[in-house]
């Protein structure tokens, strides 16, 4: 494991702070004044109904959608990679693309290597390690079209690991994955947090989130509640997060 040595981060444990984020799409406010903190060494789950703005929250924190208000602050991770590693929701990628599992893992090195540089032995060793962790090492030579859905998800996970980022943002990594794989993915993410990273995962699985995560963030256009599972899972919070029909609000006043 390439452990993040705990030197600078232990003193600046807040890796990522989202302050009053608002995101407007053309006709709809997806997020309205959402605030949350994610600390190094913590595994957090972002939970909420469909359309609540969970994916938008991640994208906003990555700078992938423009903010109409608020700010995102990457605390003590300036000496690590400035950008967080991200695994997007669903499989919007072109899986017929001529790349192998190995190539996908290697893509995680792109930012670190910099322009004109080719991967060296250290980069290859990192890719091998990530592929072993995601149990894809045997399949490294496979064309990605020949992978199952769960294996594709794991290939993206391997790429994320290879990036060696301090902050990991995953959008529904457990969706479409069988129970065994889902357990090993959760264990892997837990280990990443224990190694000193800030891990943030969007999920619909409240039970698993309570079992594996340090912090839960309930989202419905804003952050309804955040804290440990015991603090957050109150009937009032669950009600506020899930019972308001979100389908209606999409057309209502933003």
């Amino acid at each position: 494991m390439t452990h993040l040595s705990c030197e600078p981060h232990c003193y600046q444990p807040e890796a990522l702070h989202a302050r009053d984020l608002s995101v407007r799409y053309e006709h709809h406010t997806a997020l309205h004044g959402a605030s949350a903190s994610f600390r190094l060494g913590e595994f957090s789950a972002v939970i909420g109904p469909n359309g609540a703005g969970k994916s938008t929250l991640l994208k906003a924190m990555l700078g992938l959608v423009p903010l109409s208000g608020g700010e995102v602050d990457y605390g003590g991770s300036a000496d690590l990679q400035p950008h967080a590693a991200y695994v997007p929701q669903g499989q919007t990628l072109d899986w017929a693309f001529p790349v192998t599992v190995w190539d996908v893992a290697m893509m995680g090195r792109t930012g670190r290597l910099g322009w004109w540089h080719r991967p060296g032995p250290a980069d290859r060793a990192r890719a091998e390690q990530a592929l072993r962790q995601t149990e894809l090492w045997e399949l490294r030579g496979r064309h990605i079209a020949e992978l199952s859905g769960g294996q594709r998800q794991r290939a993206l996970l391997a790429r994320m690991l290879v990036r060696d980022a301090a902050v990991l943002l995953l959008d529904e990594p457990l969706t479409g994955v069988d129970t065994t794989t889902s357990q090993s993915v959760l264990a892997l993410l837990r280990a990443q947090a224990d190694a000193g990273r800030a891990v943030v995962m969007v999920t619909h699985d409240l039970e698993q989130a309570a079992h594996w995560c340090d912090q839960l963030v309930l989202v419905n256009r804003q952050v309804v509640a955040s804290g440990t599972p015991e603090q957050v899972y109150t009937p009032a919070n669950i009600e506020a997060t899930f019972s308001v029909s979100h389908l209606g609000s999409a057309h209502g006043k933003a």
Partner: protein
Amino acid sequence: MTEWLTDPLAFGFFVRALAALTLVSVLCAVVGSWVVLRGLSYVGDAMSHAVLPGIVAAFLAGGNVLLGAALAAVLSALGMNVLQARSGLKQDSATYIVFVGMFALGIVLLSRTPTFTSDLSHFLIGNPLGVTSTDLWVTAGAVLGVGGLLLGLQKELLLASFDPTEARAIGLPVRRLEQLLLVLIGLVVVLVTALVGTTLSVSLLITGAAAARLYARSLGQMMLFAALFGVLGGAVGLYASYYLGTAAGATVVLVNTVMFVLLLLARGRLARS
């Protein structure tokens, strides 16, 4: 026994044509692979028309026709990209707006030409047998320059093509890379145009790469196969035109197309067996 192979090689123009087609096939393999992967074939098509005003203007001004075409290609490439970003239109619409405009400009300029000389028509229809040794050097330079550039930027282009969101998330200049690619497509189309003419140039750019995609499991393989198919198609087409007395450029394109269909059918076989 092998005389039919060696006989045509006695002619300088034939050897130059063979060399030019080989060089261009390698160039098209490298650039065409990106074109096919990113679904930019229509840009190649548009580009082959958008160079017309550059050609005619250079001709009217007595300048270098190739240079005029290259200039028009670069301008169109950047124009398409800016128009798309400004208007929020899909790229195909933005591309065709620019290309039809450029093509119309070419026709308007053409209507000002006193006589439609054979020089100009040569360039529009293309002729591999008219390749000069200067053309060869220019093409060889382009292969090295463009090939080297694309090889150097391969991992960035790969990520930006396969997963643009991730590319943006790690801070790659995705739009700049796209512009670069459009400009390179333009330049390659110009070079190919001199061989097979504007209307057929897209074929060389994409057919080899498209055939290679059927079989390749990695990008490197795709480019290698595309180059092999292209070189083979060029040679077979050239010999065929020599013995059948047909137009060389069109024959090469036809051979490429037939080869693509055969490779497609062969893959169907492989998959079933």
